[in-house]
Symmetry: C3
Subunit: 286 residues, 3 copies
């Protein structure tokens, strides 16, 4: 199985080109589109999305591409774990998933141009380097055959999302993901709260950092300005699932990945609260 995760979107035909390149070589290879809706050039969001799906990946090859530095000196790599080989840029995108699967057993830089597709320009590495490399691997070629060995420890990594206990016993944690339903997923899990939350518990929620959009991005990682958060506090209730909440009641549930999740039933918590990815929130048991 070859699984794909990119920020290509589905409108431009980039994803169709990846599939076509794979199927020209291996017409019947099963392909899984993990998602192509990572925010454009948002390496951090892509790395978190890949990390979330990691435990469910079908054994085989995963091509992951969020790659603002395409065509530059950033390395193109393949990183093997026990069951899955990840192929993509060396910019931090792959490492959280690799570690979730037990760490790298082997890594190479995709330096052998023999299997690359020739192209008039260097800006579509997914089509010209990563998909051909994945096709080689899926066809049975060994990892060591695709380039020169590199130390897994040399792979680029991004800072981990914030999840820290504060002196007053509250928990400050980062919004890692706002999903389609407006659920606000946090970096912290229930074990980071003390005492551990039980359905019915009351929790007070405030915001300690507002993520400000920054026009300039460096290597795909948007800088987050430490904006001043409006001094606003919301009361929330720990619940097992969305429909346990009364209309308009802010809930705190454990999501399907083991993280804390602020939610409303039937409407978008993110929109109602004006909270976005990379904001920091503070949770205080009350």
């Amino acid at each position: 199985v070859v699984s794909l995760l990119t920020d290509y979107g589905l409108d431009d035909g980039f994803v169709g080109a990846l599939h076509s390149v794979l199927r020209r070589r291996l017409p019947k290879v099963p392909i899984v589109d993990l998602t192509h809706g990572v925010a454009a050039q948002d390496v951090r969001a892509g790395s978190l999305a890949l990390r979330r799906v990691a435990p469910y990946l079908a054994p085989g090859v995963v091509v992951a591409v969020v790659d603002p530095g395409v065509g530059s000196a950033r390395r193109a790599v393949a990183v093997a774990t026990a069951d899955v080989v990840f192929v993509g840029p060396d910019n931090g995108l792959l490492v959280p998933a690799v570690e979730a699967l037990g760490g790298a057993t082997q890594a190479v830089e995709l330096a052998d141009r023999g299997y690359w597709l020739e192209a008039p320009g260097p800006t579509f590495a997914g089509r010209d380097i990563f998909a051909p490399a994945a096709a080689e691997l899926a066809a049975g070629r060994g990892l060591a055959d695709l380039g020169s060995a590199i130390a897994p420890a040399s792979l680029a990594r991004l800072p981990a999302p914030v999840a820290r206990r504060r002196q007053d016993g509250s928990l400050e944690t980062e919004v890692t993901w706002v999903d389609r339903y407006g659920n606000i997923h946090l970096a912290a899990g229930p074990g980071d709260l003390s005492p551990s939350p039980v359905p019915g518990d009351a929790v007070s929620v405030s915001r300690s950092r507002v993520a400000v959009e920054v026009a300039e991005v460096a290597e795909g990682v948007a800088e987050v300005a430490e904006g001043v958060a409006e001094p606003r506090t919301w009361p929330a209730r720990v619940a097992r699932t969305f429909s346990d909440l009364a209309p308009g009641q802010l809930g705190l549930v454990v999501d399907s990945y083991g993280c804390l999740d602020l939610c409303l039933f039937g409407t978008s918590a993110a929109e109602q609260l004006g909270i976005r990815e990379q904001d920091l929130v503070v949770l205080s048991p009350t």
Copy 2:
């Protein structure tokens, strides 16, 4: 073949997780993505979309998930018809398609947790219950093996969309679907108009109910306020296809599902007329 219909969208990786779970078990199972673009938590819209595609479904298993009550006491079910087994929540989503395919021959509640995936929280039943159940079925396991038999008549159902002849001979009918092109699809078919429409006929169109967005939804079915419709009437012409219409001329065609469809050539009728899903319109031959 396993076919999928959800309101997950394609940006969050939910769909990729479904595919991954299916392919871990059955790497080569053919998968059809019917759509994942049902409006978030809109069970009614999902049930209509599933109903439309029902006659074309490939034999096998269909996983359908629009599930505001996920994790609650609403049942998870599998419902067999002659050629297709539907898997999803028991909230009205499945029944119109089941009936379109001749009705249920068997139904079970997915109560046997043996094949469920363990998860930290109960909010992703698609990944943890429905996809594993579909994989079991596609692998050849019998329906009765997945849980306890239930009476098909006990399945939840939603009210049917409005299509009624009025005393003055006009037809009042509900907007069931506005498609990407802005075509306004109605619950009524050509046989509901009297006399039956023939290309060239003139029809007058007005609106008798404005669907008002309601913030609170109960069980995923948005309440529709009986708003006061602006007293506006549009002249329309019965046509065979879009390009038979003059620029700016509102047309009434029979769509590819056998329903009436208000349309403009090359532009969005819904936008031009300000008409939305769940509005009611009145058609009067003139």
Copy 3:
């Protein structure tokens, strides 16, 4: 392999119906979704997207549908090249890709209704004519079996995008595509500039035509009003790839299809410059 390119979008279930029809006939046929995000009814944009992916297509059948004239007298056709048979409407959509693959070896009008699906209305030819025809071809049926032979030269074609040298040595060329990242792809390639551009060269960019949205479209080709372009000039720098650009510096690169591409690093050039598809720009070496 059956590859699909349409303007159906992914929200309505149109694409799911295509897949279902194909898989009912051939459950295991590999399917590639090239893209379904062509702008609604934009035959020109669809033809360019199909042209771009043409060299990478997996051998087999390609179904391409952007079809404002569906159900009208426009012909439904299948056009064979050396490795790929294209199926779709005869409205200009297919020809650029056909020619990129060496031209048509054979063409038929899909006139034999024997394999068409019966439908209540004629507005979904993708489901009812094109997908069934593709399934027949993928199942091994000969092209000549699907209808009556037509002369490839009789196929409808659209005007080519503008790329012309002006008397003052500058290059006037059309914006053929704005991609997800806001890169502005031009019809001209580097060979159309004189002298041929080398990284570091300075180029001055201005706009000579503003594409004005026109409500009425004829046969899917939006008319472009010759709007008055604001007299604005931008300095640009030739570069090899995006990350070679300084923040805010407009770049001119050769894209992965061999065309010129105006870009900014990490942000949308199209948005910053207010440039859209079908605008004309003038490039002058300085």
